[in-house]
Symmetry: C2
Amino acid sequence: MLSSEDLSYGMIRFNLKLVLLLLCAAVVIVTLSLWTRCGEVVLANRGRKNSGQAAEWDTGNKKLPNGQDTYGGEVVEHGGNSDLQGYEEIECNINGEHSIGCRKEGGEIYLPFSFLQKYFEVYGKLATYDGYERFEWSHSYSKVYYPKGKYDPRGVFMYFENYNVEVRDRVKCVSATEGVPVSTQWESQGYYYPTQIAQFGLSHYSKNLTEPEPRRTVLEDAESDLLAHWVVPNGAALSRILDPRTGSHVVQFSSPDSVTSGISLKLDHVLDFVLSLNFVFTINSSFTVVLQSREKRDQIFHLHYICSDLLISAQDQYVYHGIGHCEHTQPWRRLTRDLVVDLHKGLAYQNKPKRKLSRSKLKVVGLTFRGSGQLDNLTLSTSEHLSQFYDAAQWLVLHQDASTGGWPNPVRRRVAPGMADLEPGWYSAMGQGHALSVLARAYHHSGGDTSYLHSALAGLRPFEVASSAGGVLARFLGHIPWYEEYPTQPASFVLNGFIYALLGLYDLGVVAPSASQQATQLFRQGMVSLKQLLLLYDTGSGTTYDLRHFMLGIAPNLARWDYHATHVNQLLLLATIDHDPLLTATAERWIGYMSGKKAPHN
Amino acid sequence: MLSSEDLSYGMIRFNLKLVLLLLCAAVVIVTLSLWTRCGEVVLANRGRKNSGQAAEWDTGNKKLPNGQDTYGGEVVEHGGNSDLQGYEEIECNINGEHSIGCRKEGGEIYLPFSFLQKYFEVYGKLATYDGYERFEWSHSYSKVYYPKGKYDPRGVFMYFENYNVEVRDRVKCVSATEGVPVSTQWESQGYYYPTQIAQFGLSHYSKNLTEPEPRRTVLEDAESDLLAHWVVPNGAALSRILDPRTGSHVVQFSSPDSVTSGISLKLDHVLDFVLSLNFVFTINSSFTVVLQSREKRDQIFHLHYICSDLLISAQDQYVYHGIGHCEHTQPWRRLTRDLVVDLHKGLAYQNKPKRKLSRSKLKVVGLTFRGSGQLDNLTLSTSEHLSQFYDAAQWLVLHQDASTGGWPNPVRRRVAPGMADLEPGWYSAMGQGHALSVLARAYHHSGGDTSYLHSALAGLRPFEVASSAGGVLARFLGHIPWYEEYPTQPASFVLNGFIYALLGLYDLGVVAPSASQQATQLFRQGMVSLKQLLLLYDTGSGTTYDLRHFMLGIAPNLARWDYHATHVNQLLLLATIDHDPLLTATAERWIGYMSGKKAPHN
């Protein structure tokens, strides 16, 4: 058996998921206000100052000093009461612009949620539990991750254990040549996007630390004749030999084109769908995995892995992934494939729905090798996160521009009207930073493999080069340094990408302190900038995604709630390594915005 | 008759008031959505991206492409229908934090306005017209003034013809010595606040241009014995003489202390309550105006104007204003008093309500002079705006610091926690700018009185001195110049005060172009700064009042709607003299915020 990546190491498990307290009791807010119906009565003017109107009064909701209404005591009588007294239709005129149908009941006006949700962009749903139905109102839809301890660059990255980069729609497939995702976000034919590849690596690194040890079934390791029962047709051959290059036993096979059925293995394997193997193939060899639906036995899929530069192709139940050029003189390669992902990408390639073919509804029924070559350590596992992490790390080492240290983005990108397009080849401070986070972990986890360290150190260079000169460094008003997720002209000052860049710099500085004083210096400089500019993103009820409004004189580009939550999560994480109260106080205020709180007005 | 200020000049009347279109018809928004009641149904998720939830659907309100719902056609059936089918109570859980009582009717949830108005700080009132009642929802409460033409520094200032500075609660009184308001805003004993005095002047200048010509009744001009029927008791004397100093006929009177009733005039004068006269009094002389309620004839008030430095004092129906030290050698003085304002301030001094004593419910029933002296041009008018304007202009000329050109604010001021207090004597760019606006108009209106011009030119000096060194000039990040309403350390960058300063600079530059190239240069420099920093105030749903959040790392100080409207009005005004589309586009977006529109999110 060839030695593979060390799989036994200390596992740190974070369960960052918040337990959502479901409230079980309800309160009736009794509106006792007097009500005058003559002419024009001011119903609600609280918070209004300098008003010229005389009659201002409060409808009198019971509010506790801590801002929460009482609950837990009284319970509303639910349902049944369908003929409430004095309930009538009334027109609501909205800002003198249009009208909607409202309801009036005594001294209260009721407005329809279908109006409110559009007007304020809030969220709501009916939910039934504990025996009755209620309506759940949400100001936002995103999640805050509270760090459980000080951020450790050797541990989980942010909360990326929750990410599944490769299943995203904008991932065309995971390249079987490179083992990393291919993006279609800005170019439909697909391209290698360093930021996404790094996120793929970071998510697998993090999952490896948080998920249970995977189940692994070794199908073949060539150490015993008993393990796999290969079907070897006439004209084909299979033998277990000692590989002189590695000193390990391996399987040697040969099945020429004339033997169409190939050398095969019949399987009936459920639940674990990550296939891995070591191999050396001769030219034009291939192997095929056969999947079957557990519900509809006639639904059979063939995942072909062929010696080709093809990315992905598919027709009907046949999916093709290219594993690159094969040559028997090549060194041993390791391939890790999530078969379900590969199937889903093949279906998506044909715009076919994939939902019905979930992991639990499939099984692996066969494996076939064609051509000739050697293989070893053929395994089906629940997951192989570390292998996939190292695929990403390896990709970064191999695809870095040696002269600049950058990982080029090979697509044209328009960030905002009024900004010059980014031409293919641009670097992203976020991509660079994410790469540093991957490489720092690979350097640490590999026990000091300097190829990762050298790549990471080279990756610092674009941080020192102006974004106008091919680097990622912008300066706010010509002075305050900022690492640009998108090195636009004029600068865009995207917040979340900047903080991801800071995390990468921090990671490298911690994991290789003596080698990368530059990383630490760039991190510290960036933290000063962050604290100086942070409040420019604060709208008093949310955040902006960038500073395009300031740079271009246009409307602010408000951050949708998931980006806002990312800002919050990033600040909370930074606050574990930098105790400036600005970070915590800002994060707490920004959390409040997610449930409708606002900064005070004068 | 002494010559007084020229009262006949071209009157420009602006009616900037917007005609609010009252909508007469209404529309029923029919919610036809299908509704599933099992377990948990997503009711509203529009605008939500990257949501993990599967079932997203629209409740289906009819919306026209222009963002306005249809109206004008169908009319809701109002009232009467008090037993709508299927209407029931339901609990609404708000952000998992508290619960309120809602209503459910078919596929729609109705939320109570009493909750919404607090949660979102919106406004609403019931209004009945055209025979039925409706509910009027307002996102904001302030008013936008659309300029009718290019701003002219010789004309109305902004929309200040709508201001009544002296009636504000924070005005203690109008000084009878200076003819200008005394503020209690930041110090309860009262002080002269240059910004307020200038606003007083600007409002009267503007009213003079927009209001109808006042009605004037001359009670005494000494040109004829027939005009006023003075009651002259034994021991007192009154004669009409030629004043050698002015060559005009004047009244000379003498009524020693022993004659307690003084020399008096019985009047029965309604509607016009602005008293003006020219006078020279000997020491300890005084005069009294007697007001009577037209409804309750026993309600009589005595307004005493006494030779004293007293600001204001009052007890019961006696109100005292000091007209300063009197000496028969003094030059002729002119006094203009709004008697109703003086009465109201006397009542407010005693914390008595003043509402029942409006202009229409009072009359002037008598005038009494005591001591000795000369008087002329005793008049009751609807208004004497120009006299009051010149009182303000004169005050500014007389109370400017000759060495610095500043109008000192004699109070300590705390702008924000985290900023050093402003120590008494600080200058305000807004106060300086307002003073320039007053003095430029006085210079223009007086036909070139250089005392106003010289004062204005000196008033430019603090704009060139750093706010840290006693001036009003701050620099954003050390570079971008900004004229500080409050010259705080660190700088506060108040927006509306800065723009008022710009208007003052513009006014002076236009009215005296050759003399004040410095004003024009300061204006242009400020406009560059304004355009550069303007978007920092844009929150995507409103504006901030200042940049304290950026300077102090704290929550933004959101502008309440009337300040937001001021920002809008200022931009609209500037857009008439600078056609940079940034100003108009920003103003239009900010107007949208006032009816609930928001900048887009990503």
